[in-house]
Symmetry: C2
Subunit: 356 residues, 2 copies
């Protein structure tokens, strides 16, 4: 099932993870400068095939990037999408008719045998196949009709950070390309990411709130929802704090009962329609006396128990997820350090998870 786990205890705990977090502005710039034209070419070739449906396949962090792409495809392109339940093909041998279906498989390593197998099967079933990976030499890239390299450079930390934002930006540029756009709105991201990552001291202070937390809840709506899921995953795999994530609407269907004054809630409030749709949920949470931390707009942060104001000046809502996750990656790192653990050495995990 798993590869041997290398000894990742570095002299300075979290050195590998923090090093990759701060690489992100440079990675985003590389994608815009070097990756953009190639992504646009691929998007044009895919658009010419006129896909009617999109299926997205991924696991872990890449699954959260796939969910982001689902929102983009549905909202900006009006193409119905689904996230694959992979066991339907790998365990049950389902053979769906995939004519006119674009199957996008997202994977940092491009090496998971189940993703390779399901992509192969999709191609044989008539799908247009696109792999989005951080390894152009990977088997997944080889078996797919199209491949986008997210150009993040080798990722050595077990908790994925720079490949997540690289996947988001690459998928954004791809979807913009499908609709004939140039993705120019993304140009501001590298500098904004730099400014956010320079505010580590603020996040460190925020981390103090969670040092002793026994659980956490993350919530958002719309474009911010993948951020809530990815932040929960990051917190769990580094600090081991059980972190539950819900879309704001789902939170009201049951899990709200679990929230009390000792359960901190992190809300990602995008500056746009998702943030607006989250307002009634925030009201309910405040009404229940929840400890509410807001990542987002300054005015929203001011109304919460604490937060991190995002400089989204002019960045459209659909690009904000690339910025929102940055303070949350730092938070996962800082909480883990505060708890005396090493973010570079999550117990029990291997970099390439060989699920079948």
């Amino acid at each position: 099932m798993s590869a041997t786990i290398p000894d990742r205890h570095s002299e300075q705990p979290g050195r590998i993870m923090s090093g990759e977090i701060v690489e992100q502005p440079a990675v985003l710039r590389r994608i815009l400068d070097e990756g953009g034209p190639k992504i646009r070419e691929i998007a044009e070739a895919v658009a010419a095939k006129k896909p009617r449906f999109v299926l997205l396949t991924a696991r872990g962090t890449s699954d959260n990037a796939a969910l982001y792409a689902k929102y983009l495809l549905e909202v900006r392109l009006g193409i119905p999408c689904g996230l694959t339940s992979m066991s339907t093909t790998t365990a049950y041998g389902a053979q769906p008719d995939l004519t006119d279906v674009l199957v996008i498989t997202v994977s940092q390593s491009g090496g998971s045998p189940d993703l390779v197998a399901s992509t192969k099967a999709a191609r044989e079933a008539g799908a247009i196949t696109l792999a989005v990976t951080n390894n152009a030499e990977s088997e997944l890239a080889a078996v797919s009709e199209f491949h986008i390299d997210v150009l993040a450079g080798p990722e050595k930390a077990l908790p994925a950070t720079k490949t997540y934002t690289a996947e988001l930006l690459s998928l954004y540029l791809f979807v913009e390309g499908l609709r004939g756009g140039d993705g120019a709105a993304a140009a501001a991201l590298p500098d904004l990411a730099q400014r956010i990552l320079a505010r580590g001291a603020e996040v460190k202070q925020l981390a103090g709130r969670y040092r002793f937390a026994e659980r956490m809840v993350l919530t958002s709506r719309g474009y911010g929802y993948p951020t809530a899921k990815e932040a929960a995953l990051k917190l769990m795999e580094t600090s081991y704090i059980p972190a539950l994530s819900y879309s704001g609407a789902d939170l009201l269907h049951g899990p709200l009962a679990m929230i009390d004054a000792i359960s901190p809630v992190i809300a990602i409030v995008t500056d746009g329609k998702g943030g607006e749709a989250l307002q009634p949920v925030l009201e309910r949470l405040r009404g229940r006396g929840a400890d509410l931390v807001v990542i987002g707009d300054e005015a929203e942060v001011a109304k919460a128990s604490a937060g991190f104001a995002l400089p989204t000046d002019g960045v459209p809502e659909e690009l904000q997820p690339i910025l929102e996750i940055l303070p949350l990656q730092l938070l996962a790192y800082e909480v883990t350090i505060a708890r005396g653990q090493d973010p570079d050495a999550p117990r029990a995990l291997a970099k390439v998870t060989e699920t079948r």
Copy 2:
């Protein structure tokens, strides 16, 4: 956002929920006897329209039923499916082209304004629309082209139980109808459900293990995965224990780090390919010294720390979810009673959640 919360504190805590749990064998029998022919008719009418893609829309417990239907549709019919991200239409006004798309909306009450609005929008966008509700007089039933009544009778408890299994069986019969089958394999379910629900004493003993649990993890693969999600929701909304659910494969991508000897894991091991695919995950969990409770096959239960053996004699894997959830509903009830709370009165919840 929410209706006024009625005073549900009954004299005997959990009386309403437990009353509805034990109704399930009768509800299943009613669906088979009275609902079956009508469901088959609807399935034939939908099949004649030759849908190429299915989108499922639901929230909370019904969303778990929708996920079950997604597995059925993909595995048994080979139709690609997606679960709707509802905010794409309600918040962002996405207008996907839904020609040849079957949109199935599942809702106990049929009254959530967002589900009504998204179903209307889908119908206008060319979709074949099917509502699956427990209220034939509901607005959702009215705005949909087709409607399946799950015939569970009024559900008064806030934690949904009998409408969940009623939704599962109705969706199963619908999918069987789509493929021209008669769903005869389901005939054994009412009696088996009765036998399982008679074993309350066993579940009560199991509940003792979790009385002081600070968190729980539920896992499964394939057809059992919706059961893991629904059991987690049930535990959270009644006992407030944070319960995380993962497909076995996803568990290995990060959250595994969180599992230690004090984090109980409940694994739903179906008797079939899903259970086989879960084996490597069970091995990893045993290797990490996790407290592992198995719901499923007797031999699997024997290898675990504890469990509940399911009498699945001859019931095909795709029908087992209708049985698997029963001991877990009882468990949520018993743990809540053991913790001195009232399962009939989850704080902060209303029966019809009016998300928009």
